[in-house]
């Protein structure tokens, strides 16, 4: 009997794999909408989505994973990773993903968040020894009606192709993308506008990982190097404060952030070392100083879109050579790490007529960054910090504290300081601004299991910008607050209410001469209700309200999601109908929309109108799945550009 129960518990997650996959969009939504609010880093949502999908495809084997493997769950804190590793070490193994909720530092919502990205299977010895070639091909095609830019040189459709293989310790991938408006094939060797490839070898001995081709990297808190997500994004979510070191094959489509070369990760005992070298062509606008003799970079282009003559001229205009070395060592509960990195540009950066805001902007062709960090975890407290310095003396400093006074309460406190003019071309530090410099602030939050099934979290971030910034011609400050209440009476029902407030300082639009500043405030309220009347049917209703000042406008939206997994055929249908009414662009509302795998959609809803979408996913076998999505909307907006529709098609084959 007991044996039967254990078998049943072990089998449950396997049977629940498909529904857990369907949870991924919800998890993406929880963070992606916040990322979209920060307009300067909207692409981060895409990177976040891609990383989650990759994680779901290669889930962490938690029962055999060490802390390093567990840290692939990048949205967990170091605290949670250590607690999970300790729990498995003590109990032997986890029998059900629901058991994760009992691990100190976890709760029901967090265990549900982790579930799609872990597996309880351990893998047999034969499986581990057997080298089997696995291939995965993904093709996305999308087109918008009417086309947004009819003067672009290429077709208005967008295409993404990804190929990935793995065979024992070897793996590799090729990513190809053509954005809307770009020519399909170009160059002497006709290829798409963006083409990326890499080859990876992973071992368990002295050499842990070798990557040749395109790769991304991250060290510590990211002030020195972090080509992925900026950490510390959410005020009230449980994770996103992790500070793991990692080099990883690059599979995203941001065309200017990654490294192209080789990276090696070594480890001996408790000491690790990483080396990398990269030479990548990046987009930049070049200018000349009077004569053609002296060419310099006036602006770096980050959009990756090549549809105009100026963007085509900027394409791959500069060679960036980067290299670096990192060392880390563990001494009991203490980890120390050092990083040295340098960037060299083939053309120097110059600003011959700097506006006051650009006074501290980088000039020259070489930048060096030294970084030193630590992490110390005695018991229920985690202390971490990092200091990065440029040769000019400009520095970035982060100091954080996480602690768990009880199993039902966890708290975080982070102080950061980024000097104006601190430069790290591949860094995204904890709570840094989009430019990576010119901010100082303190952040605090707590996550409390207030009662059975009731979870309360709240966070505050207060920051100052000691120098001028985009759209603000004076030193400024800002405050963000958020409170999130979640009630989960059962696995089938959940309620959530979120209140958030953001205050920033901006130039008054009508001011002339020396610009005056005003406080810009946005207050949002969101309520959502999710219900699963059947295992195959999920209904979600959501209402958003947002008010902004000094514009004095407000926006409101209501949406209904229906997700139905058809029993008779291996297909799932998602449907959404959303009605919205906002006073202006400032009071727009973001609503994450379920999308193709490895893709995301967060339309900004504004004006008075509706948006609907329907998506069908068919999985005829474990080797193939297909998705088709049609979204359409209309809105009465002042410029009259209110009606649009979009068709997306995806095919995925595994063999």
């Amino acid at each position: 009997m007991k044996r039967g129960i254990i078998i049943l518990i072990v089998l449950l997650p396997v049977n629940a794999v498909y529904p857990q996959e369907e949870r991924i969009p919800d998890i993406i939504m929880e963070i992606a909408e916040q990322l979209s609010e920060d307009e300067t880093d909207a692409d981060a949502a895409g990177d976040f989505a891609i990383r989650l999908y990759e994680l779901a495809e290669k889930p962490v084997r938690i029962n055999t994973a060490d802390e390093s493997e567990l840290s692939r769950l990048f949205f967990l804190t170091d605290f949670q990773i250590k607690a999970l590793a300790d729990y498995i070490r003590k109990t032997g193994r986890i029998y059900s993903v629901y058991e994760i909720a009992a691990v100190p530092g976890f709760n029901t919502p967090l265990s549900a968040m982790v579930a799609p990205f872990v597996t309880l299977e351990e893998g047999t010895q034969e499986e581990k020894k057997k080298i089997r070639l696995r291939n995965d091909i993904l093709m996305n095609f999308s087109v918008k009606f009417p086309p947004t830019d009819t003067s672009a040189p290429g077709g208005s459709w967008k295409m993404l192709t990804k190929y990935r293989f793995s065979a024992g310790p070897f793996s590799g991938s090729v990513t190809s993308e053509k954005d809307a408006g770009e020519k399909f094939l170009q160059g002497k060797i006709p290829v798409t506008d963006f083409l990326s490839a890499n080859l990876v070898w992973e071992g368990k001995g002295f050499v842990r990982k070798v990557i040749a081709g395109d790769f991304g990297a991250r060290y510590g808190m990211g002030t020195g190097i972090n080509t992925g997500l900026r950490t510390g994004l959410s005020l009230t979510q449980p994770g996103y404060l992790s500070g793991g070191d990692d080099i990883r094959p690059y599979t995203s489509t941001d065309e200017n952030i990654f490294f192209r070369g080789a990276a090696v990760q070594l480890r001996s005992g408790k000491t690790g070392m990483t080396m990398f070298w990269s030479r990548n062509l990046i987009d930049a606008t070049l200018d000349t100083a009077g004569t053609q003799a002296y060419v310099y970079i006036s602006t770096f282009q980050r959009s990756g879109l090549h549809t105009t003559s100026s963007s085509l001229a900027a394409r791959d205009a500069v060679a960036e050579t980067s290299y670096g070395l990192s060392l880390s060592t563990d001494i009991r509960s203490l980890r120390l790490s050092l990083l040295w990195t340098q960037n060299r540009f083939s053309v120097p950066v110059m600003n011959d007529d700097p506006a006051p805001r650009e006074l501290y902007d980088f000039t020259g062709s070489v930048n060096t960054t030294f970084t030193a960090g630590y992490k110390y975890m005695p018991g229920r407290v985690l202390l971490y910090g990092e200091l990065s310095v440029n040769p000019t003396g400009r520095k970035a400093f982060v100091q954080g504290l996480s602690f768990k006074p009880s199993d039902r309460l966890s708290m975080n406190l982070v102080y950061r300081h980024y000097d104006p003019g601190y430069i790290s071309f591949h860094g995204k530090g904890l709570f840094s601004s989009s430019s990576g410099d010119n901010s100082e602030g303190i952040f605090g939050n707590f996550i409390l299991e207030a009662a059975k099934h009731l979870f309360l979290s709240a966070g505050v971030d207060v920051k100052v910008n000691p120098w001028l910034k985009y759209r603000c011609s004076a030193p400024s400050y800002g405050i963000s607050r958020e409170v999130r209440l979640r009630y989960l009476p059962s696995e089938k029902v959940s309620f959530e209410a979120v209140y958030s407030y953001r205050q920033t300082m901006l130039d008054q639009p009508e001011s002339t001469g020396i610009k005056k500043q005003c406080q810009s405030e946005a207050t949002s309220l969101r309520g959502s209700f999710r219900y699963m009347p059947l295992e195959k049917l999920t209904l979600t209703t959501r209402i958003d309200h947002k008010s902004v000042s000094p514009a004095g406008s407000a926006g409101i939206s209501m949406l209904q999601d229906i997700s139905w997994r058809i029993g008779a055929i291996p297909a799932t249908v998602w449907f959404r109908h959303c009605i919205f009414r906002t006073g202006d662009w400032d009071s727009r509302i973001y609503a994450y929309e379920n999308d193709l795998v490895h893709s995301f959609s967060i339309p900004a809803l504004w004006g008075n109108g509706s948006r609907s979408c329907v998506m069908i996913s068919v999985r005829p076998s474990g080797h193939a799945d297909f998705r088709i999505k049609f979204a359409f909307g209309e809105s009465s907006v002042p410029d009259g550009s209110g009606s649009s529709s979009e068709l997306k098609v995806q095919a995925r084959i595994r063999f």
């Binding site: 209402i543 209904q560 359409f632």
Partner: protein
């Protein structure tokens, strides 16, 4: 003569779109019982509510027909006359509804053919094809539109039920004359054998968000008292109903904070 009359009436007509019931102007305004509950009926089975959410159609166990008159603010030009027929089948039901709003110079005719089906013990779904014809004095052509609406009903437990209804989830660019679109979600609970309470939210492109709540109480076997509130126009509603054999008669009143009181009366005859 009537051109002068048209101005204030048209003004109120337009004003109605965003406030009389808070939602879309293509709402059938059908059912005095529903009116008495503040139109909080997307989840509550009933003859007229079956045309507010077609998923409620299969709960009609016998064939029935009904007529309804809804007088907005006592202005005859703003009256709506409706007639409907419901025919139950095995686990499904068919419905037909016709409605006329307005007067000679400003009129809308709407007709709908609906079908609802029980998908399981807990869930039912329904869909209705709609035809609208609008005529305004001064305009040469009659505006005609086709659309559809659909809903689902879920019996979450013996006491609790949910209803979801979407109206016109179709891109406006597909048609010449745009129609509003709406989403409506509500939940009801049977607190005792005699008492039912409900709450719902609706948002329409023709108006803002409208929150409604209502109750229905049966103090006697054949007599019902209803009350409700709708945030669109801060409308308080009340009503009553009486059943004599196969005939059900309902009366409903709803207030508006600026425009006064609307009255609805309906009669349903069941072919038992």
């Amino acid at each position: 003569m009537y051109s002068l009359r048209l101005i204030p009436v048209s003004f109120i007509f337009v004003f109605l779109f965003s406030s009389a019931r808070g939602g879309d102007p293509y709402f059938p305004a059908a059912g005095a019982g529903e009116s008495g509950m503040g139109w909080s009926c997307v989840m509550k089975p009933g003859f007229w509510s079956s045309f507010h959410n077609q998923a409620l159609l299969p709960f009609n166990k016998s064939a029935a027909t009904g007529i309804n008159y809804h007088s907005r603010f006592g202005i005859s030009e703003l009256g709506t006359k409706s007639a409907a027929l419901v025919m139950p089948l095995d686990k499904a039901a068919l419905g037909f509804v016709y409605s006329h709003f307005g007067y000679r110079d400003l009129a809308r005719h709407s007709a709908g053919l609906a079908c609802g089906i029980l998908l399981s013990e807990k869930i039912s779904a329904g869909v209705q094809a709609d035809f609208f014809a609008e005529k305004t004095a001064g305009e040469y052509r009659e505006r005609r539109s086709l659309s559809f609406e659909a809903g689902i009903h879920i019996k979450a437990s013996e006491q609790v039920s949910l209803g979801i209804h979407l109206f016109n989830p179709v891109p406006g660019s597909f048609r010449k004359d745009k129609l509003p679109s709406s989403v409506r979600v509500g939940s009801g609970i049977r607190l005792s054998r005699d008492l039912f309470a409900s709450a719902e939210a609706e948002m329409s492109t023709a108006g803002g968000l409208d929150i409604r709540t209502g109750f229905e109480y049966d103090p006697f076997r054949s007599f019902t008292i209803r009350g409700g509130f709708s945030s669109g126009g801060n409308s308080f509603c009340f009503g009553m109903g009486y059943i004599v054999r196969s005939v059900q008669m309902d009366l409903g009143f709803s207030t508006h904070d600026r425009l006064g009181v609307s009255t609805a009366v309906s009669v349903i005859f069941a072919f038992k």
